[in-house]
């Protein structure tokens, strides 16, 4: 069983509206691997991830999670998901604890919290260095702090696989370092990671393999590509978008 890939995609296609976004993707992630999905905007990175979790239906191909076809996969507490930050904004104030608690539901029966569940929430907040903000409203947080809360929400179910969609977008350098540190600790514990990235940044040393997408096809699958020119300079904080059609993401919630 341990030889089974954690994620296995074979010939996966998907459309958004009538536009084909994924045109036959093969992707395998093994236990303990850290795999980055790279590519320009519109290359299908986010769609690939959202197909894996079932938010976007795949029109063809096969998806398996932990060796089980995605359609029959029910063991959701094994997966922690960090969506792009823009999706998590409610019209009612909520505290950091309340948001992180939502991630624990996959471990509870009928949503009833026991002592261990409350402890897990506190522990997850500690992992991302947000324990002192537990009772604050998420609306009062900076972009980087908010991202840390979303990562705590994914980690609170103690998952074996972490799927993250652009965890570094709109996050200041200091918070990026904290996020990289949190991730490093999780990887050392043996967690498997699949993440969409715009550029490798401070996560570069952690990444085992990079899969580069272009126009919904896999262009490269292997060691992470080297940064070139000015992008390779240490301390280069790469904040501009790669594509002039992409609006800049601000650190605000909504």
């Amino acid at each position: 069983m341990s030889g089974e890939p954690v994620i296995a995609l074979r010939g996966v296609t998907a459309e958004l509206g009538s536009r084909p976004v994924l045109r036959g993707i093969d992707l395998t992630v093994h236990r303990g691997e850290v795999v980055a999905l790279l590519g320009a905007n519109g290359s299908g990175k986010s769609t690939a991830i959202r197909t894996i979790i079932g938010q976007v239906p795949a029109s063809g191909g096969e998806i398996a999670l932990f060796g089980t076809p995605r359609r029959t996969f029910r063991d959701w507490s094994r997966i922690g998901y960090v969506p792009q930050r823009t999706t998590a904004a409610g019209g009612v104030p909520a505290t950091v604890t309340e948001v992180v608690s939502a991630g624990r539901l996959s471990r509870t029966r009928f949503g009833l919290f026991r002592k261990a569940d409350h402890a897990a929430v506190r522990h997850a907040l500690g992992l991302v260095g947000m324990a002192d903000r537990a009772k604050d409203s998420v609306e009062a947080l900076s972009g980087g702090q908010h991202q840390r809360v979303l990562i705590a929400r994914a980690l609170v179910a103690e998952p074996e696989l972490l799927i993250m969609d652009e965890p570094m977008a709109g996050v200041d350098l200091a918070s990026q370092e904290i996020l990289a540190q949190t991730l490093r600790e999780q990887v050392e514990r043996g967690i498997t990671v699949l993440l969409v990235l715009h550029e490798l940044g401070p996560l570069e040393p952690l990444i085992d393999r990079a899969v580069v997408l272009r126009d919904g096809c896999v262009l490269h699958d292997g060691p992470p590509p080297r940064a070139l020119g000015q992008h390779a300079l240490p301390g280069h904080d790469h904040v501009h978008p790669h594509d002039e059609h992409t609006p800049l993401r601000t650190g605000l919630l909504s």
């Binding site: 959202r50 979790i53 079932g54 938010q55 029910r74 959701w76 507490s77 997966i79 998901y81 969506p83 999706t87 998590a88 409610g90 019209g91 009612v92 104030p93 909520a94 505290t95 309340e98 948001v99 608690s101 939502a102 991630g103 539901l105 996959s106 509870t108 949503g111 919290f113 009772k135 604050d136 409203s137 009062a140 929400r153 179910a157 799927i163 200041d172 350098l173 200091a174 000015q230 992008h231 301390g235 280069h236 904080d237 790469h238 904040v239 501009h240």
Partner: protein, 300 residues
């Protein structure tokens, strides 16, 4: 307190309190998912149910419940399948429901638009024994859902995509929210009327937000405001001969304004407390560093 001696006032107060509890309890999830006006839409659809009740000489309350639940399900289906033109489809549902109600009630024997008035704006003093039974049953259902499933509904309303990955039955919970909202509309129909229902679902939540930082506190304060204004409005209308529905809604808006005014010094005090908690090396005010740090480097 002589009003408590009258049976009609006892029924009116009971109905009012139940509405004061249930309307904000559902409304908070609608506000959280930014569908604040959904209650208003269901209210319009429920009018067809009232008309149908008159036409078939059955209970308008139960018929309105059936039709508005159906309408809420259709609205939820539109949200899934027709995201792009959703607002147009919803508009058709709203005004179709309203026109259907007016049409059906005029077709009913001896029916006229005058019959509609008590459903449009509420008629608290004419709440009957059977109305109270219906309202109690429906309110019990609403409370069971909104309190019993609060963690699940919170997760789905906060971040649908994430909720799906925790294995929650997102579609079923969305449908349940819509159905519960529809039931609440019919519970509140006799008290504040179909056209003012949405105010009791949304305004107490908005008012509570002025004071609270957590979802749980917002829920509790919103329900407290709901109960206060429904009781206050009912008693005021007993002494002053003013329509209870309108009184309740105006009181709710007054509560919102009062709390908004109160919230400003409260926020200031919280900011000061936060600044006091901050360690000495981390000033609340911006300080311009003498030299540029690594984080200032901006790529071109």
């Amino acid at each position: 307190m002589d009003f408590l001696n009258y049976a009609f006032m006892q029924r009116a107060l009971l109905a009012a309190v139940l509405v004061g509890i249930t309307a904000p309890a559902v409304g908070i999830y609608l506000v959280q998912r930014r569908q604040a006006l959904m209650g208003d839409g269901i209210g319009h659809v429920a009018m067809t149910g009232v008309g149908l009740g008159f036409l078939l000489s059955t209970s308008p309350v139960w018929m309105a419940t059936a039709v508005s639940v159906l309408g809420a399900i259709v609205m939820e289906l539109i949200r899934w399948y027709g995201r792009t033109r959703g607002d147009i489809a919803l508009a058709m549902l709203f005004y179709g429901g309203m026109a259907g109600g007016v049409m059906l009630i005029n077709l009913a024997p001896g029916g006229s638009n005058a019959n509609l008035m008590s459903y449009l704006f509420g008629s608290l003093s004419t709440v009957s024994e059977s109305d109270v039974t219906a309202i109690c049953l429906l309110a019990a259902f609403v409370l069971l859902v909104t309190l019993g499933l609060r963690r699940q509904l919170f997760a789905v309303s906060q971040d649908e995509e994430f909720a799906r990955v925790t294995g929650l039955p997102v579609r079923a919970l969305n449908l349940l929210t819509a159905i519960t909202a529809a039931v609440t509309v019919t519970v509140a129909m006799r008290v504040v009327g179909l056209l003012l229902v949405s105010a009791l679902m949304v305004v107490p939540v908005a008012a509570a937000q002025q004071l609270s930082r957590s979802f749980a506190a917002t829920f509790a304060i919103a329900v407290a405001i709901g109960v206060t204004v429904t009781i206050g409005g009912t008693i005021t209308s007993y002494y002053q001969y003013v329509p209870p529905g309108a009184t309740i809604v105006l009181l709710t808006i007054a509560a919102f304004i009062a709390l908004s005014v109160l919230a400003t010094p409260l926020a200031r005090r919280r900011a000061r407390a936060a600044a006091a908690r901050r360690p000495a090396g981390d000033p609340a005010e911006c300080a311009i560093p003498a030299t540029r740090g690594a984080a200032d480097e901006v790529g071109v």
